[in-house]
Amino acid sequence: MASQKDILLQVKDLKTSFFTKKGVIKAVDGVSFTVKKGEVIGLVGESGSGKSVTSLSIMRLVPQPAGKIVSGEILFKNENLLNKSESEMRELRGNKLAMILQDPMVSLNQLLTVGYQIGETFKYHGKADGSLLTKCINILKKVKVPSPETRVNNFPFQFSGGMCQRVLIGTGIANNPELLIADEPTTALDVTIQAQILKLMKDLQKEINASIILITHDLATIAQICSKVYVMYGGRIVEKAPVKDFYHDPQHPYSEGLIKSVPVLGKRVKRLYAIEGQPPNLINPPPGCRFEPRCSKAKKVCSQKYPPEVELKKDHQVSCWLYS
């Protein structure tokens, strides 16, 4: 176990639900994980598996009024974020806790200049002295936007998608956050730009030594910058593994399926592998393992009780009845 000092974020049995007319959607249903200082974690899973809701829960920005954090603890530097007041949370957001959203073109306000939107990060954390403009220009330099002195006064619609994402990353790292959550930062971009953005994030991570939670469904991205992978399925984490183990020796049948469904260059296959069936309905989830209906290795117990988390070796845990 890592010593208490190294741990930056500890999420314990987090449950976040959406209360809708159709019923209660248990989007996140008992998620626990830790993030150490300076560590880059990959959070993978298909759409609707609860990745984004987990990250918004950490920011305490679950969509209102339907969404609500039902129970659990989110310990950031040993303080429970769920006990903080709204103004204490506001102090943390954009300061020690930063986040980048997935679609850069719509995450920037089209009516305000890029400089203004970066500047807000300083302004509302009491860091706006006379040199606000210089600070914004420096941020643009950091994220390698060309001719930052003129670009700072441009509007988002005058930027390309990749440049917008650089601006968003810039606002994320502006106050040297201790934790940066990147929610699919490369999904909306084309492949060449994706590589550039990932490289940029990697470099900046080293520079400011922040912990990063990278949310994605792109396994290639994970392989490039993460050291650990947490696999989410149906609102729960089903496997936690170091990145190498995850690729070479995935234990959970769902992780196995994920790895198998990645096409490999140079390998001839008749048909790409796909996991059969649909993601579970989270309104009335079955009592057992969420993956059971789609799992080829399902046993009788799988549909009756949710499997406990088992530690297979150091830093590698899995929740599956095959192992317990």
């Binding site: 506001r90 954009g94 986040m99 959203l101 995450s107 306000n109 089209q110 509302y124 968003l168 606002t171």
Partner: protein
């Protein structure tokens, strides 16, 4: 931008020309005879002939039209048949009263409507939203003439707090007291409209990712609502509120009649029935001018708010 504005004004001028031409001919195509309406029942045919000639209505329509254009170009829109004074003078003597009432009603509707609309969107399903929905429904459905009479009865007659007719003679306070009831009645529908519209456009804006992003940056809720959400929502509001302002200053026949407010709404209705061509014509020109100008102003405001338009 300058070239663009010049083009717009040229087009506005053309619109006014087309509108006044149509009105000129349409209005005179009826059977009605202004001289006949004006004269007492015992007038002789001779009197009728003199009056017709006096109004210049004896000449062929096309000659009348060109002499109207010629005079209009010099700023002379003819004499009112009824008042025997310049039509422009007649209209602009009464216009300030309507302007005053319209501006007051507009400001009141804008402040109340935007406040309720924005608060309803920010605290959705909260008590402001619930009350706001009732106010909006009421404003849309309660006829202003009924409301006007009820308010007169209650505040004017029963309580005796407020005057119920006229524009007031004395100072500012007296004028304000006279304005309260008519301005309120004039603003019920606009309040409902602005409330509904600002609520829905704010809700749309608040759902967007840039609002979430602003919160992620730690921007305080007040600035999230105003700087990020309202700025985007205001584009829709400009579209509706600028022309609304024009309609409100052009006077309401119903309200002006009920409260004996000496505005142009009543003047023009009376002029229309009396076939007082010059007064009606200059009124139509005023409407056309104000509406076309309003749309130009709205376009300028769009450009002020939205850089995407500014940079086109």
């Amino acid at each position: 931008m300058k070239v663009y504005l010049l083009k717009r004004f040229a087009f506005a001028f053309f619109t006014m020309f087309v509108v006044i031409t149509i009105v000129f001919f349409l209005y005179r195509s009826g059977e009605a005879d202004p001289a006949h309406i004006m004269l007492p029942p015992d007038a002789t045919p001779k009197d009728h002939e003199i009056l017709t000639k006096n109004f210049g209505l004896d000449k062929p329509l096309i000659i009348q039209y060109f002499s109207f254009l010629k005079n209009a170009a010099r700023g002379d829109f003819g004499k009112s048949f009824r008042y025997n004074e310049s039509a422009a003078k007649v209209l602009f003597q009464r216009f300030p009263a309507s302007l005053q009432l319209g501006v007051a009603a507009f400001l009141f509707s804008a402040i109340v409507g935007l406040a309720i609309g924005i608060l309803s969107a920010v605290h959705r399903d909260g008590w402001v939203d619930r009350v706001g929905r009732v106010i909006a429904l009421g404003g849309m459905s309660i006829p202003s003439f009924w409301l006007a009479v009820m308010l007169m009865l209650f505040f004017g007659v029963t309580l005796g707090w407020l005057p119920v007719s006229g524009r007031g003679e004395g100072g500012l306070l007296d004028t304000l007291r006279h304005m309260i009831l008519p301005a309120f009645c004039l603003s019920t529908y606009p309040i409902a409209l602005i409330t509904r519209l600002s609520r829905s456009s704010m809700i749309d804006a608040l759902k967007s990712d840039y609002v979430v992003m602003a919160r992620i940056k730690g921007v305080p809720e007040f600035y999230v609502n105003i700087v990020h959400a309202f700025k985007n929502a205001s584009i829709t509001l400009i579209t509706i509120m600028v022309p609304m302002f024009v309609y409100m200053i052009l006077g309401s026949v119903v309200i002006e009649t009920i409260f004996s407010w000496p505005g142009i709404g009543r003047l023009v209705i009376e002029a229309t029935f009396a076939r007082d061509y010059p007064v009606v014509q200059i009124f139509i020109l005023l409407i056309t001018f104000l509406i076309t100008t309003a749309y130009i102003v709205a376009d300028v405001l769009y450009a002020v708010v939205d850089p995407r338009i500014r940079f086109q």
